[in-house]
Amino acid sequence: MHRYANPARFLRLAKAILPYSSGLAVLLLGSGLWFALVGSPADYQQGDSMRIMYVHVPSAWMGMVCYVAMAVLSAMALIWKHPLADLLARATAPVGAAFTLLCLITGSLWGKPMWGTWWVWDARLTSMLILLFLYLGYMALIDAFDDPERGSKAGAILALVGAVNIPVIKFSVDWWNTLHQPASVVKMGGPAIDPSMLLPLLLMAFGFKAYWVTVLLLRGRAEIAAQKIRVLRLAQVHASSRGE
């Protein structure tokens, strides 16, 4: 693990992985979308509205997976002071926030025709909204200090504290009565979803993950470049103030 905390090694690794992860994302999302919109049957009760699920559910998973990754990276940054862990935690936050928002929006669009309401304050929906606020809070906090180091430390603590929300989101539908239906895929006794519908769902889910890896590597690379520029600028300012 510690071997990969080296920025130079990360850049080499990123260069090697990027063509595969971006190619995989295009392939999976392309085939996933085709299966989701054309190559799969409509639901016996919901009709074609259930196709929203092919974006909604992978978005929800992404929102949670990105958060778990952010929390683990934050813990690594706090404990072992890995600069790269901190940098990647920062880089994954906007991606997670965007997918959480997408999950809330698509869920709302599905909820109106199916449930008869855009939004209810049940445990699942509320905990997902809290996840969005955690992301927004994290992003605001890390840039709220003049010293980026202090910003990351405060952000890392927030990310770790907010991690208790993740099991609450997952199990909210089992612990309390909610309007939101219980889990269909990751549950005891196997999925309650027909194989013809599980295929596009999984293609989309893995496509989203491949997209995330791609974006994370690109953003990580950009962050490293930005840090180099910052260091060079500081050196320049120091040099000129000494009158050299």
Partner: protein, 146 residues
Amino acid sequence: MTRKQRRLYFVLLGLVALGAASALILTAISDSLVYFYTPSDLVGKPQPEGRRMRIGGLVQDHSVIRDGKSVTFVVTDLTHGLPVTYAGILPDLFREGQGVVVEGKMGTDGTFLAAEVLAKHDEKYMPKDVADALKKSGQWKEPKAN
């Protein structure tokens, strides 16, 4: 103990304490976190008149009676049932045997006066022909309440 180890134990201890605290709080306020009560929850607990609440369950088979603009039906959790009257637009998924959540208050005669009816979807997704085949072969499992 090195500083790294100290930080590691500090973070782990903090997470355990935080997890335990949240678990205690969530268990303590569990009653107000539920989105709806079931008809069985209400048995033996007379509700104050005019208190707004939500009841969830299945629409009992053959219980839906439409009368002009208003509709009456029974919400059941398969143990107890609660008669409901409602005047308004029903969601698309509303049908007998389907999960619903009704919001409103208890009337004086023991029927529930709903101001809003929401359909509750179960976790099953399947194409129509699969559903038809299951029903035909007798393998169809009716949805559970809540």
